[in-house]
């Protein structure tokens, strides 16, 4: 067993990288969710130009490879637009967030379409505004459909965070690479792989938890005994 362990000092270094990985994941996730929502809703807009712009974004974000987008963001964009971008964390998160937004928007679009039309019509009949409809009626119901694929997508983004090591950010993989020369590489990378695995299982678990909480809102137990009673009481 000891053969598969590193020294405490080495774990300490890796942990610093792990924290960086988590930070990048958090930042790209936040941006990704916001973009997914905005673009996903925009994909269904009544205005053709909004729909078109959203489609272009989706095709771009999904068509370009996230690793290439990352390098474009890190090396081409700052020089091209003269934005002196010193904050790699922001850059990397934007690249990964755009990537996530492209896929997430399609998830959200599909989920909104899966909400029965009657729900929209009922909320029009109640005179809710367009945003209120979305906020109180459509999205809460779409959430059920959104969560499972969004969980998978988040794990994809976690995997994507490893790419930032290539543009000079000190994430888990970058630290591992710096230690590579002086540590048994088999043990080192196994440890790193396991760290990613644990993190992704954690994400998985969080999403499952969220799913069960959302499901509880819809609780539709088939005619239970208590319900039969209430039926009798009424008629």
């Amino acid at each position: 067993m000891d053969d598969f362990l590193l020294t405490p000092g080495q774990y300490e270094r890796l942990f610093a990288g792990f924290l960086m990985t988590v930070r990048i994941l958090g930042a790209s996730f936040a941006l990704g969710i916001v973009l997914s929502l905005l673009v996903g809703v925009a994909r269904l807009s009544q205005r053709p130009w909004v729909r078109g712009a959203a489609l272009v974004f989706v095709e771009f974000a999904r068509g370009i490879s996230s690793i290439i987008l990352l390098f474009v963001m890190a090396y081409a964009i700052p020089i091209l637009f003269g934005v002196e971008q010193r904050n790699l964390l922001v850059l990397g998160s934007i690249a990964l967030g755009i990537n996530m937004g492209g896929y997430g928007a399609e998830i959200i679009r599909g989920a909104i379409l899966a909400v029965p039309r009657g729900q929209t019509e009922a909320s029009i009949a109640l005179n809710l505004s367009e945003t209120q409809r979305l906020r109180h009626v459509i999205l809460p119901q779409a959430l059920r459909v959104i969560l499972p694929p969004m969980g998978n997508l988040t794990i994809e983004i976690l995997k994507g965070t490893a790419l930032v090591s290539l543009i000079g950010l000190g994430d888990l993989l970058a630290i591992a690479n710096q230690m590579r020369q002086r540590v048994d590489t088999v043990v080192l990378f196994l440890n790193v792989l396991i760290a990613y695995f644990v993190l992704s299982q954690l994400i998985n678990g969080l999403f499952r938890l969220a799913e069960s909480r959302v499901d509880r809102r819809f609780e539709s137990r088939a005619a239970g005994p208590d319900q039969a009673d209430t039926l009798k009481a009424v008629t």
């Binding site: 000092g9 270094r13 610093a16 990288g17 924290l19 960086m20 930070r23 890190a74 090396y75 700052p78 020089i79 091209l80 003269g82 934005v83 002196e84 971008q85 010193r86 904050n87 790699l88 964390l89 922001v90 290539l166 543009i167 000079g168 950010l169 000190g170 970058a174 630290i175 690479n177 710096q178 230690m179 590579r180 020369q181 002086r182």
Partner: protein, 305 residues
């Protein structure tokens, strides 16, 4: 070509407050928490030095290459260049350095894009690079050597001997000067394997993917020291088109806009060099005294063409 695009953006200088957290975030977590201050925005003109002095921290780029600039076992940034830079910057009132590890070929792009404020990777000064960025005066000059399996089975001594032996595959660091040396010596393309990572070259040698690695004598010596069954060849100086020997002399890189910072750094560097302060720092990393003395007579103008 000195014009840097950052010229057009003087207005970004003001909002230092927003940058407070960012230095923190751009660290790679390798240097033990030496990133408590803000460095502020880099802008045109010479206020970078003042800003750095104010913040007390400078961000540097390294390529993780022993002994020039690397991360040691404990995660600390060290090496000949970072250590010298530390000493010089101390004189300028900047206490800490905060390093980012990037691929060697991305050092200049990273500097230009503003990801860090100077290169402390022992980068050789040559005319191509000097067109892009500013260099300090050199602080060392060394020759080249090969890392080869023990006993040097392919009998490699210089680049000509590689060019003459089609069985030899040579590892070269992508974006480094050795590529040009190999071209001049007429090494065919299919004998060259490019790497973007110094360590990967030596791992490839160990794995038998390549037959030799070319690098500065120092790099090769440091690397083979840790490797069983490999040795360094005699140091040599590669030849240019005219058959003249090329000296490889390393210095510190700065953005073209940061002339004042470069000058201030250069003045202190030369002063410390003259006082012999740097000698012990550099020799600590395996350099010979003559490597340093060779550099003392040269200025950046001699090398930048």
């Amino acid at each position: 070509g000195g014009d840097d695009v950052t010229d057009d953006t003087p207005q970004v200088g003001g909002d230092e407050g927003t940058e407070d957290t960012t230095t923190d975030e751009t660290t790679d977590g390798t240097d033990d928490g030496a990133d408590d201050g803000a460095t502020g925005e880099t802008t045109a003109g010479g206020d970078l030095l003042a800003e750095l002095q104010e913040a007390g921290v400078v961000r540097v780029g390294i390529a993780d290459e022993e002994p020039y600039g690397y991360v040691d076992d404990d995660g600390n940034v060290t090496g000949q260049a970072p250590e010298v830079a530390r000493r010089v910057l101390e004189e300028l009132g900047i206490e800490e350095i905060d390093a980012q590890v990037v691929a060697f070929e991305s050092l200049i792009a990273g500097l230009q894009a503003g990801q860090f404020d100077m290169i402390t990777a022992g980068m050789y000064i040559n005319p191509d690079r000097a067109q892009q960025i500013l260099f300090s005066d050199p602080d060392y000059c060394v020759g080249e050597a090969f890392a080869v399996p023990e006993g040097n089975p392919q009998d490699i001594s210089d680049l000509q001997s590689v060019a003459d032996n089609p069985d030899v595959t040579l590892a070269i660091l992508s974006g480094a000067v050795e590529e040009g040396y190999a071209d001049t010596a007429g090494v065919p393309d299919d004998q060259i394997e490019f790497f973007s990572d110094v360590n990967a070259q030596y791992e490839a040698l160990q794995a038998g993917r390549v037959d030799a690695v070319i690098g500065t004598t120092l790099t090769v010596l440091t690397q083979v020291e840790d490797m069983d069954g490999f040795e360094a060849t005699e140091s040599f100086f590669p030849l240019d088109e005219d058959g003249e020997e090329i000296l490889g002399c390393g210095g510190y890189g700065f953005r073209n806009d940061d002339q004042e910072f470069r000058d201030a750094f250069n003045d202190e560097l030369n002063r410390l060099q003259d006082e012999g302060e740097l000698l012990p720092i550099i020799t600590d990393f395996g350099f010979a005294e003559e490597d340093i003395e060779r550099a003392q007579e040269l200025t950046v103008e001699d090398l930048a063409g």
